[in-house]
């Protein structure tokens, strides 16, 4: 199970909308960091993913291990939040 889900997004990104829709359909809560609104946190998204792309979804599991999924990729998101 996921203890915390944090998503880095931008206002205009359609793939971010899809990840949010998907998380909501799985009844999972998440924190959203919109880097258009908080540009100073764009660095964080890059550091955590090594990529300059959103959406970045950071899943912290119960045992504090962390999984990072870049993009709208159900094949990676599903096992990460399970």
């Amino acid at each position: 199970m996921a203890k915390d889900i944090t998503m880095y997004t931008t206002t205009t990104c359609a793939y971010c909308v899809m990840v949010k829709k998907w998380l909501t359909s799985k009844k999972l809560d998440y924190n959203e960091v919109n880097i258009d609104e908080q540009p100073e946190r764009a660095k964080e998204a890059f550091e955590v993913s090594g990529q300059m792309a959103v959406p970045v979804t950071v899943i912290t599991k119960d045992d504090d291990t962390r999984e990072v999924v870049v993009g709208y990729n159900i094949a990676k998101l599903a096992p990460a939040v399970a």
């Binding site: 793939y15 899809m18 870049v70």
Partner: protein
């Protein structure tokens, strides 16, 4: 009566064959317990003990029977059931961009049961376009994302069902169209292929290596990482110019590299471009190579074709909009395509497979406009209605 043993399904969430097996069991009301081996080491150990170390999933245990990666036929035999097929659907649309969403507004309003299957983003390429100024009815323009969201709401208001999934094959026989999907087969009386297009890659050294680490195809997604940075935009069509203008919100300077000696973009956009002092236009300039330091892009090399001189742009990123390629790979020879891979269709928008129609960007001859896609969606819906009426005669 002897109680049937509960089937154990060892699998993982990401595994398509596991989903297929579970879907089969559910459809046939067969009791089962799903054991996720990825997130529970105990289940993994149990499974490996049962299978003597064989790591294939799904592994199904039903009484004394142990089977791995069974196909539909095997499952049917194993449970002695006639595989209950899902009821045949009336219309299935592949894709949920402007063409399919519009078509579904029309079909559902005619009370034709309609399901859309989308593998990526609802709204398609329109949804990732930052701003749409040429779609009628919005005098101030509208963001691609808002337009997509409106289209989705409108389609769902009349009962269109949008499923997130992926179609992997298509065939037609005796008035029934069969779609293979990662969740199993679906049968429909009629199908609309509206899978659209995606941005092409340039195909130069460094491009693949630096995808998402300096090379991007979605300005609305990744532009925000280039605040106060220098970038190049590659391309001379509407998308390249529109997205270059959008990227000036972030970038300190943009070099726009256009291979030809004139823009394919509309004049209005080109005028906007010429007024923008953050953008330098380089006509007749090819993009030859993308260079980086291993972690990120540091420069883009090109050639000025007029002077035949190398040009080097020291930038942090490159956004590429060099044309569109059709999403038709999954059709795998079952549908006639033109030489560029777009779907051939009749004036009725029907393909060579009876009952299978095509609309929007994916259709040969499409003009790659949202307004055209919407128009084609409406036409396709009306033709599908006629087709269904003839089918039931």
């Amino acid at each position: 009566m002897k109680k049937e043993p509960t089937t154990l399904v060892y699998g993982a969430d990401w595994c398509p064959d596991c989903r297929m097996a579970k879907a089969f069991l559910e459809k046939n009301d067969i009791e089962y317990k799903y054991l996720d081996i990825e997130n529970n080491p105990k289940y993994q150990n149990d499974m490996l003990r049962i299978t003597n170390g064989s790591k294939t999933i799904p592994t199904l245990v039903y009484g004394d029977i142990i089977t791995q990666e069974p196909d539909l036929e095997e499952l049917t035999n194993m449970y002695g059931v006639q595989a209950k097929k899902e009821d045949m659907k009336e219309v299935v649309m592949i894709g949920a961009g402007p063409a399919a969403l519009t078509a579904s507004v029309y079909t559902t309003r005619e009370d034709i049961d309609t399901t859309l299957i989308e593998k990526a983003v609802i709204g398609g390429l329109a949804a990732i376009t930052d701003w749409v100024d040429n779609y009628p009815g919005f005098p101030e323009g509208i963001s691609g994302l808002d337009l997509s969201e409106n289209l989705r709401k409108q389609a769902e208001r009349f009962g269109a069902k949008i499923e997130l999934g992926e179609v992997t094959g298509i065939s037609a026989k005796n008035g029934v169209v069969t779609l293979n999907t990662i969740e199993g087969d679906i049968e429909a009386k009629a199908v609309l292929i509206a899978t659209g297009t995606e941005y092409k890659k340039i195909g130069v050294p460094g491009e693949a290596e630096y995808i998402s680490r300096g090379v991007h195809y979605c300005a609305t997604c990744d532009g925000a990482f280039y605040r106060d940075k220098k970038i190049v935009v590659v391309g001379g069509g509407n998308s390249a110019v529109q997205e270059a203008l959008f990227l000036t919100k972030f970038a300190s300077h943009i070099d726009l590299l256009v291979r030809g000696d004139k823009f394919r973009a509309s004049d209005v956009l080109v005028h906007e471009l010429e007024k923008n002092d953050k953008i330098t236009i380089h006509m007749n300039t090819t993009t030859d190579e993308i260079l980086g330091d291993g972690a990120k892009v540091t420069s883009v090399n090109g050639t000025n074709k007029k002077t035949n001189k190398k040009v080097i742009f020291d930038v942090d990123g490159a956004f590429v909009f060099v044309g569109l390629k059709p999403n038709t790979g999954f059709l795998d020879g079952s549908i006639d395509l033109d030489e560029y891979g777009f779907i051939k269709s009749t004036t009725n928008l029907e393909t060579n497979l009876p009952g299978v129609f095509a609309a929007g960007d994916v259709r040969s001859g499409a003009t790659m406009q949202i307004a055209s896609a919407v128009g084609e969606g409406a036409t396709a819906a009306l033709r599908i209605r006629e087709y269904l009426e003839n089918l039931s005669k």
